[in-house]
């Protein structure tokens, strides 16, 4: 057997394992200054404000589930970005007393296929204006 010498560690040279809670994930990396070591199965939590730049998110990870209800308020929508295709009128739309400016009456060569009392259109042939008064 070959002669073997192994160095023994002095207590001051080695780290003891810490029993303290791991520090939160922050925004500034640090080597730390403690004299004890983390256990390998320690768990960090994300600290308040730790997610502080959009670059931390991969594309598309903020999906519909992640968004809180009513999170998209008026201020969050870029002007003119709610385009016609995004709007689905599924109930009477209340104009709240405001004008519909540059409003054009529906243009149609014939009466609409689905009559509803109150529906209006302008005939493209004679330019006359029609309103439905009886639907059935």
């Amino acid at each position: 057997m070959a002669v073997t010498w192994k160095q023994l560690a002095f207590a001051a040279d080695v780290a003891l394992l810490s029993t303290e809670t791991a520090h939160d994930i922050g925004t500034s990396a640090s080597a730390g200054s403690a004299s004890d070591a983390s256990k390998h199965d320690h768990v960090h939590i994300v600290g308040t404000g730790a997610i502080n730049s959009a670059g931390m998110f991969a594309a598309g990870v903020v999906d519909a589930t992640a968004l809180a209800s009513n999170a998209v308020t008026t201020a969050k929508i870029l002007n003119s970005n709610v385009t016609v295709a995004k709007i689905a009128i599924d109930a009477a739309l209340d104009f709240g007393g405001f004008q519909g400016t540059n409003f054009i009456i529906e243009q149609s060569a014939a009466a609409p296929a689905v009559p509803v009392v109150g529906k209006i259109y302008q005939a493209t042939g004679d330019q006359k204006f029609y309103i439905c008064t009886i639907a059935s």
Binding site: K6, A9, A15, I25, S38, A68, N81, T101, V116
Partner: protein, 135 residues
Amino acid sequence: MATWKEVAFYTDVAVLSTQLAHDVGTVASAGVAEDASKHDHVHILGGGSISLANKLASGVVDAAALGSDAVTTIKINTGAVTSGKIGIAAALNFNGYQAKNFIVHQATIGAPPTAVVGKWFQDSSTKKFYVCTAL
């Protein structure tokens, strides 16, 4: 009673590292270093480290988290803006486009809507059409 304690061989124990902690990534790893982290080390989130939608709990992205003007057209699902979501707070410019399948406000001459010049309604009983011309 006599007590015997094992003394660690130097090569079997870790020394404390002075290197920056690695960024939080997308793949967990035991690491290959031979030194240990100090207990007060701090990790930061690496670029793209939040790489799956299911990393975010339901509802965590609330109004405060969303930046102003963050919701652009491409972010809004087609048909997602339903009537209840629309709050007309100023004149709505139709930009010369038609309002198709538009139904005139239904009311009665006995209980008309709040009068505004230009406002119109159809009497739901007589079917007559009224427009406000003066207040």
